[in-house]
């Protein structure tokens, strides 16, 4: 083994730099907060549906909106999509979402039962 090529299977020692440590602490805080918020949103969604008083016409868009918010929190707080250097990830994920947005309504609606 040449000395100048570091061995990737050697255990990493030491801790994070001060800067990283601060960042991590902040991150953890954000994550806990968003977790609590997600639990809250989920409960709201379930309650919306469980209470029969809210009409579907309103409930369905509402719970869908909640789902979207939750997913964005997962993507950006838990999966760090907004970190620097994630441009390509964003592009590809959003393209996937774009195709998904095309796909779901078509499969749901354009299947010949109702003509548009």
């Amino acid at each position: 083994m040449d000395p100048h090529v570091s061995d990737p299977s050697a255990p990493l020692k030491g801790g994070p730099s001060k800067k990283t440590e601060k960042k991590l602490a902040k991150e953890a805080r954000h994550q806990v907060v968003s977790f609590v918020f997600m639990i809250f949103l989920t409960s709201v969604a379930f309650l919306t549906v469980a209470s029969d008083t809210i009409p579907n016409r309103f409930a369905i868009p509402f719970i869908l909106l909640i789902a979207v918010v939750q997913v964005l929190m997962q993507l950006y707080y838990f999966m760090h999509l907004n970190d620097r250097g994630n441009g390509w990830n964003n592009i590809m994920l959003w393209t996937g979402i774009f195709v998904a947005i095309m796909t779901v309504p078509t499969l749901m609606l354009l299947i010949g039962v109702i003509k548009f």
Binding site: D7, M92, T103, T106, L107, I111, K115, F116
Partner: protein, 608 residues
């Protein structure tokens, strides 16, 4: 560490290789074989259609031939052949030593290969699939034999391979570029491979799901497509075309890339409107996802949907037109050399435009009710596929052959091949436009006399024989030219792949090159000393180890597929276990590769 130098048998070397160049050649070999097979199937169909009511093959056989022809050509011939070039050339064009995931690269190839073999074994095991390459339900789900099971599993396995290859190219192109090779300095072939790979990434999952559903329906009694159980048969068509339309751009974009390289090289000019070309490629890829229902105008999704998809489809003419005109203006003011590679590129332009404009005619939804499922459609897509993709493949073959195999193909034979092929191609498919409008549906095992279809079909078959004959000339050329040893840069090339010794060293670039402009090699020829500048000092080069696991993993899935087709669960489980255990071994056993030493590189470079 010393494995690299241990003497390995040639066969073992090829079976275990993770070198992108060898995998590229494997793709070309396998793809070439399947192309001949698909061509043979086409010839049998054309012979059957030569005269009305000819009983050369039975109806059933004809349906199997047409299905296997379409499936083989698209999945097992055209795409793998393009992958062959992409694998070999893209890393070279971006100044990389290898792809991002050499192991997965090999896995992708072997999955494709075993999927293809599985599909073709159906011929001997109860009949090939017979529902068309589109396998519309419920014909495929409830009214066809085991052939469809082979279709489902064969395509599923090879599809996974394709998906893996797609991701691999994407990451390679993003992460492995040499210093200075910014995205906007990438050669167009790399760009178009990049976009095609992105299309693979987003299109193949829809096919995966479609095939999964079809498999569950046929083998495990699911009822998605069983109308009496609340199912719907149109869902399959959407899933197929959400994949299927992007698929045709997956085929054509890399071919566009090849033409961009070839036309620029042999016009001795920089590609005209480089950024417009890149932009157009991206737009085509993007629009490619919004038009799939143009294959379903007659299915009954309603006039609003039809109108929207018609207009969206037509929009694709714009970016494609941009490309066509930029190619023409690349030649404008240039010094055009009529090498065989360039002949194919030049022949492509009018041929593809004819196919493209019939595409726009097809996109006219109200008129599509007349065109749909007739030979007009057959004519359209062979014009774009053969006039685009196949001419691109041959152009690329003549262009890159010296780089890949160290010898030049014979130009005289090549030109004969070109002219015969082009003539045969137009003869075969031009008349089919009329055949279709005159009332001949596609996928018919024969036709009745007295409908005015006889002579045109005969002409078409004659044309096909020209193509077949031309193809044989190509095969001959490959063999007889072997002695035609070529220098490293036979065409006065412009891009990085021509700046390295021939034959291409295992590690591609002794030193990672420094890229200073678009067309880096040309730039160095004009403004430097004609040699690529190095971005790093000469040093040991890290290489990945070969592995036999990919082939075993693919074989495992192949075995599992038989278990599924014949519902022998132990076989399925054994097959899946083989694959899973290999995955396990792969993730447990860390493999850090080996190094090629500086001195060896110096020796080799000195000799080369």
């Amino acid at each position: 560490m010393s494995q690299a130098y241990a003497k390995k048998s040639v066969l073992w070397d090829w079976l275990t290789t993770v070198d992108h160049k060898k995998i590229g050649i494997l793709y070309l070999a396998a793809g070439g074989f399947f192309f001949a097979l698909g061509g043979l199937e086409a010839m049998l169909m054309r012979i059957q259609l030569m005269f009305p009511e000819l009983g050369f093959v039975s109806e059933q056989t004809f349906n199997e031939l047409l299905t296997m022809h379409g499936t083989t050509m698209i999945f097992l011939a055209a795409m793998p052949l393009l992958f062959g070039f992409m694998n070999y050339i893209v890393p070279l064009q971006i100044g990389a030593r290898d792809v991002a995931f050499p192991f997965l690269n090999s896995l992708g190839f072997w999955l494709f290969f075993f999927g293809g073999v599985l599909l073709n074994l159906s011929w001997f095991l109860g009949g090939a699939p017979d529902a068309g390459w589109t396998a519309y339900t419920p014909l495929s789900s409830a009214y066809s034999g085991t052939g469809i099971d082979y279709y489902v599993l064969g395509l599923q396995i090879s599809g996974i391979g394709t998906l893996i290859a797609g991701i691999n190219f994407l990451v390679t192109i993003i992460n492995m570029r040499a210093p200075g090779m910014s995205m906007m300095r990438m050669p167009l072939f790399t760009w178009s491979s990049f976009v095609a790979s992105a299309l693979i990434l987003f299109a193949f999952p829809a096919l995966t799901v479609g095939l999964l559903l079809l498999m569950f329906e046929r083998l495990f009694g699911a009822t998605y497509f069983a109308v009496e159980m609340g199912g719907n048969v149109v869902i399959w068509q959407h899933l197929f075309w959400i994949f299927g339309h992007p698929e045709v751009y997956i085929l054509i974009l890399p071919a566009f890339g090849i033409f961009s390289e070839v036309l620029a090289t042999f016009s001795k000019k920089r590609l005209f409107g480089y950024s417009a070309m890149v932009f157009a490629t991206l737009i085509i890829g993007f629009l490619g996802f919004m038009v799939w229902a143009h294959h379903m105008f007659t299915v009954g999704i309603g006039p609003v949907a039809n109108a929207i998809f018609a207009v969206a489809t037509m929009a694709i003419a714009v970016p494609t037109g941009i490309k066509i005109f930029n190619w023409l203006f690349t030649m404008w003011g240039g010094r055009i050399q009529f090498t065989t590679a360039n002949l194919f590129a030049i022949g492509f332009i009018p041929s593809f435009v004819m196919g493209g404009v019939t595409g726009i005619m097809l996109a006219t939804s109200a008129a599509n009710y007349q065109f749909h499922d007739t030979y007009f459609v057959v004519a359209h897509f062979h014009y774009v596929i053969i006039g685009g993709v196949v001419l691109g493949l041959f152009s690329g073959a003549f262009y890159w052959w010296p780089r890949m195999f160290g010898y030049k193909l014979n130009e005289t034979l090549g030109k004969w091949f070109f002219w015969l092929f082009l003539f045969g191609f137009h003869l075969t498919f031009f008349v089919q436009h009329f055949v279709g409008l005159m009332g001949m549906p596609r996928r018919v095992a024969s036709y009745l006399p007295g409908q005015g279809l006889d002579s045109l079909n005969l002409i078409s078959t004659v044309g096909a024989f020209f193509m077949a004959f031309a193809f044989i000339l190509f095969a001959v050329n490959v063999v007889v030219s072997v002695k035609n040893k070529s220098e490293a840069d036979p065409w006065d090339g412009r891009t990085l792949e021509w700046g390295i010794p021939s034959p291409t060293p295992e590690y591609n670039f002794a030193q990672t090159p420094l890229v200073r402009e678009l067309d880096p090699l040309w730039y160095e020829k004009m403004h430097g000393n004609g040699k690529l500048k190095a971005a790093e000092p000469l040093d040991d080069i890290h290489m990945p180890n070969g592995s036999i696991l990919p082939i075993i993993m693919s074989f495992g899935l192949f075995v599992a597929a038989f278990g599924l087709i014949y519902l022998v669960h132990p076989v399925t489980i054994i097959g899946l276990l083989i694959t899973l255990v290999c995955m396990f071994v792969r993730s447990i056993k860390e493999d850090h590769g080996y190094h090629i030493h500086k001195e060896d590189i110096q020796n080799e470079e000195g000799a080369g």
